[in-house]
Symmetry: C2
Subunit: 273 residues, 2 copies
């Protein structure tokens, strides 16, 4: 299939979290068109099995291909950790995840070779961050910690509630007790709790959000393949949003994350792909 420069980049996530990655892509690649898919009918992914997450990811990639995407970013850490290797071998479109860029950023950031990773149950159980970091530098010690309540706390709007501070303390106390000097926010929801996590962990730890390096990798990939978009003077980039359920709830949340008014969001029966 011939891909076109003006074709959109596909981005997907289990729900709204991946919008933090879209926000970064728009900042670094303002000329690219984007098609986003959030799997709101089956969110969350973090407590589910690898087999199921691979099947969900395959369905979503088949959907995004109907939009003639020239590249796909798996904005979900869980799907990046559990499905990326498999789906890369199955589809003829370049696919990026967030785990590799996040790992590389943390390896650059650490001074004392000790990195912490927070993520969903499934991401942490996969051990993928540890594996990739130690492939980059076998001397680095990695401490991973699953924080499964962070996603519902964000989704239910408890960001500013006192219980969120207590849940952060409960999960991160064992990490704060170590001498890690860099910590990866290994779930796309977690940047939405960044200031609270920062307040608890202190100023001396570098907090790594994989979104930044992921957008950089996407930029590099598109340039290398001569596929970066030359947007016509005066025209605007197009952003399309699709979900598998509750489009209006998604749009309202997206409006709090994105730097512009999110247009109409369409529901896709993703199980049919």
């Amino acid at each position: 299939m011939e891909r076109k420069k003006e074709a959109p980049v596909g981005v997907f996530d289990s729900g709204v979290g991946g919008l933090t990655v879209v926000r970064e892509i728009i900042r670094q690649l303002p000329d690219e068109n984007i098609v986003y898919f959030g799997d709101t009918a089956r969110v969350p992914y973090g407590s589910k099995s690898q087999k199921t997450i691979i099947r969900f990811s395959e369905q979503i990639i088949r959907f995004l291909k109907t939009k003639q995407v020239k590249a796909i970013v798996i904005a979900c850490n869980t799907a990046s950790a559990l499905a990326l290797d498999t789906v890369r071998g199955e589809f003829d479109v370049p696919i990026l995840g967030v785990v590799f860029p996040g790992a590389r950023a943390a390896v650059k950031a650490t001074q004392n070779q000790k990195i912490g990773v927070v993520g969903t149950d499934a991401t942490v159980r996969s051990g993928m961050y540890t594996k990739i970091i130690q492939e980059m530098d076998p001397g680095i010690q990695v401490i991973e910690k699953a924080c499964p309540l962070f996603v519902p706390l964000v989704e239910e709007g408890f960001k500013e509630h006192v219980v969120t501070r207590e849940v952060i303390e409960y999960y991160l106390e064992p990490l704060r007790a170590t001498d890690i000097d860099a910590m990866i926010l290994g779930c796309t929801h977690y940047p939405l709790l960044r200031s609270k996590i920062r307040a608890y962990m202190g100023e001396d730890i570098q907090i790594v959000n994989p979104a930044y390096e992921t957008a950089m990798d996407l930029k590099k990939l598109l340039k290398e393949q001569g596929m970066d978009n030359d947007r016509a003077e005066g025209s605007a980039s197009r952003y399309e949003f699709y979900v598998s359920d509750t489009a209006e709830k998604f749009r309202q949340f997206a409006n709090t994350v994105m730097p512009f008014d999110v247009p109409e969001t369409n529901v896709v029966n993703i199980e049919g792909f």
Copy 2:
């Protein structure tokens, strides 16, 4: 289709919560065989749309029918509130939900005609408890309150954690400030928080768990239709458990809820039904 007395009763839920209903059915109807399905690949239902919950329910009922069930209990309040009316018209097997029995129990329990209902977002938005209670007695005032974090708190094992008490206080404070004298636990997960809810709400409120009346309704239905099972002397009832994902995690949780060791749990690709 001819149904047999020894055929199993099908019970389903979005995940593990419906086991509290199975437990009650086993207590009241020890001679019945049961096939349980937990939709662990797509849990939770409480934040999803009616259209999606109807589609999920239809798929599960089609699966349960392959097990020749003689009746089906929707043990999930969200699916009972949003899908029961639709699926009843679509399938040739008797289907019971938990909302009607729960409403009836609360109507019996209240002395001052003021009932509180706690449930998921979707259940509360449906207004189904209020509608059914006021059909039974238009003079009763119903106050509904969504408590979306209760399910993740239970699923993540925070039952005994201090934040659970605080979340209970946060959600239930507006209900405690009223003079309701009966409160329906309108989500099958919530009975697992019963003692904490009781401690916060005080001894003067009757806490209604719809599971008890649902099992009674099932017993009545099977008797009326002459379909109650006469278990052969010395034989044991059969309980089968199916899920759409993470069978082992389900089985471990189920073992903490059920009065016996839960047998092997099988994974079903429910989207294919």
